[in-house]
Amino acid sequence: MSTPTSTPKSPADKPGMLGQLADFFDDRTGYRAFMHEALYERVPGGARWRYVWGSALVFAFMTQVITGLVLWASYSASAQTAWESVYYIQHEMTGGWLLRGIHHVMAQAMIVLLALHLMQVVIDGAYRAPREVNFWLGLVLMMLVLGMALTGYLLPWDQKGYWATRVATNLAGLVPVLGPSIQQLVVGGPDYGHHTLTRFFALHAGFLPATLVLMLVVHLSLFRKHGLCARQPMRKPDALFWPDQVLKDAVAMLAVMAVVLGVILLPALRAMLEGRPIVPGELGAELGAPADPSQPYAAARPEWYFLFLFQFLKVFEGWGASGEFFGAIVTPGLVMGVMFLMPILGRWQLGHRFNIAFTLALLAGVGLLTAMATNDDYAALWANRAAYADVEKLLAETDGDQAKIAAALGNDAGRIATFQSRAKKLDAIRHSQSFLNAVVLAKADAARAIELAGRPERIPPSGALELVRNDPLSQGPRLFAQHCASCHAHVDPAAPEASTLLAEASAANLHGFGTAAWVRGLLDPKQVSGPAYFGNTAHKEGDMVNFVQHDLIDTTNWEPEDIEAVIAAMAAEAGVPHGGGPLADADVIRKGRELIADGERCGSCHRFSPNETEPGDAPDLMGWGSREWIVGIVTDPTHERFYGTTNDRMPSFGKSAEGAAPMLSQRQIELIVDWLRGDWYRPAAHAH
């Protein structure tokens, strides 16, 4: 029953169910007034595009919160699971590549939006009283965003993030007095590992965003308290935030999202146009090879928006210890200091102009340093190295000896100066070339790690790094280059560079060792004393060469089919699993084996039967070229089973004095051997 004071409502005025519900909540929360306050903020001078940056930043942050929380739901922060879980998100989970791609690219967009927002605030003088505190809050927010960018870079625990973070945390150690402690706290101990990840993750997804949200709430409420700082002159009548400014903000958000998606999907479009298959896992954010402290990573660079700081450290060449301190601590500190003083300086018109000039100069400096860093790294792509051939030649001839160079240039000061400056340019090109090579290597390593992680056996509990470390395809070439390549070549004889590389080598070419093609070359009178076989060794005029060049060409003893049978039998002994082509018929192999065992033929020097107890004068051919055989000869070529006392220079890689470490561990030898034999994991799709 209504009270006498209230006028009875007509049935048409009576709110519906929804309206009643809304009334119920409004009575108890006052949300309508709140919404009104939120949406009907006055925008002096009307809605403008230049006001959209703040909202776009909030939108970008919301995107990071949404994508970040879902990434969190699949991420596992530990040294054995971080890379692995990110691999799983990126390459196996439905939509994972898109989720991670948005998170990764939006982080970069956020940095750009921050710069735009800062520029707009400074140029419009929006930091002046009473908005000083809000400007300072904005700077703190900026540092929080940069902190999240820095901590997020490590979380995939790949080579790129690992080595970049090592540099960043080493720089933190330069802070006076507390530096080493700060570094140890951030790293989570004396060395990088589980606790580096758990701490960076707690910072990235906990401490920093929680602080950011708190600061953002204050930042926005202070913004509302002071109202929008309108750009003068105001050409249009005042408008309300909703819907005029909201529309512009929303369009800006959509544009940002479109750019982010564009960056992610552009490679897919390119692949489509070029008729290549689109692999979703390759879109969006990159994932390098798993972090490995013992594996050099020459392609280490920070994310592009930190490149200027990276480059800045190179500026202080020759400054000694103070250079890095100035570059990494003092200068960034001073710049932040000036920025914090901006609201005070801006009280005077001259100060305001200084602030604008400072901000623009800062951005120009950042742009310049970024361009310099890019040029340093990529110069070899556009520089003409051939133009420096004479410099390269003189440097090689003189071994870089300054006195010899001066003499070669006739001690002419002008020519020497020109030479020096050109040598410097050549040096820059060389450095860029090694960076580009490192990038190619890093990409190949990453692709291989991802291929290994996708094996049907999956990743072992000890992590993907173990897969990489035990992969002949990844490790073999590195170990070979380090321990074998100073004597042996490994080059396809059909390759254009083969003749040069073979001439430089002082031992046999091991490319295709164990295949029929390799044996055929060995038994070819023209090749056996050539550089691919015994040509550059002590056996150049040995019994084997003599045998091939004199006995084997005697067709009364050796029919061409006999030689082919021996080749087939040798290839069968080796049993190279890949790249050797199909084995010959069993009958041919049997014939070949009989010929080899024949005491009048191969068997006169080589042992080829377990029944023979005495070793031959030449290496055993039982199991020749098999894994076990090659491991054996690499371990100890001076063993009677192999070259014995006739061994030519080859070290016993696996043998060492009691207590000393051998040159190569058993595992390392096996990796080299498996690589030589082409025995490594191949995904099913590639095998056919």
Binding site: N170, G173, G189, P190, A300, G320, G659
Partner: protein, 190 residues
């Protein structure tokens, strides 16, 4: 009949409490609240500071390779340093934990060992065989083959030389240590 209280005064907010009783109440409120918050904060900070008392493995001589593996031509060669390692709760047996460069002059049996970590910012220094020098791929610090700086360099000091011995059996052992980067003095990390 019970006495009626005039409830109309409840509509007025009470005045600020003054005097000694008010002061004590305020102090007590702050103390109780602060005390209640203290344990979680203290426990948090205490645990967060845990890494400060962690020490790396004590510097020890580790077998790296044998003399015959180091070419006697002055060119350094890179070797992995392998030892047992503990990362928080995980123990690794015989893990590569870093790398050293070993070199010896022509015909000499004395071996020099350098840490592969750049003394500038901690990147992995590489050998430029073409130019016969060390070069850091990050900020371009260059070092001669015997570890000295090529000036001008971003690096504040020469490469970190490690103590190194050739044992009677020909094995090479290196005292594996990490040093603080970016400073002029070579100071070992604890």
């Amino acid at each position: 009949m019970p006495q009626q209280t005039d409830l109309s005064t409840r509509d007025q907010p009470p005045g600020p409490s003054t005097g000694r009783r008010g002061f004590l109440a305020k102090m007590a409120a702050v103390c109780c609240g602060g005390l209640a918050m203290l344990p979680p904060l203290a426990a948090g900070v205490w645990t967060l500071l845990d890494p400060l008392r962690r020490r790396g493995a004590a510097a020890a001589f580790l077998p790296v390779t044998e003399l015959a593996s180091v070419p006697a031509d002055g060119m350094p060669r890179q070797f992995a340093v392998v030892t047992d390692r503990v990362d928080a709760w995980t123990g690794f047996a015989a893990e590569p934990i870093g790398a050293v460069y070993l070199r010896r002059e022509q015909g000499s049996d004395t071996v020099q060992a350098f840490s592969a970590t750049c003394p500038h910012a901690g990147c992995f220094v590489e050998i430029e065989s073409e130019e016969r020098c060390f070069r850091c791929p990050c900020h371009n610090s260059k070092f001669t083959l015997d570890g000295n700086m090529v000036a001008p360099s971003p690096s504040p000091r020469a490469m970190d030389e490690l103590e190194c011995r050739v044992e009677k059996n020909g094995g090479i052992v290196v005292k594996w240590q990490n040093f603080y980067t970016g400073i002029a003095e070579k100071v070992a990390r604890p």
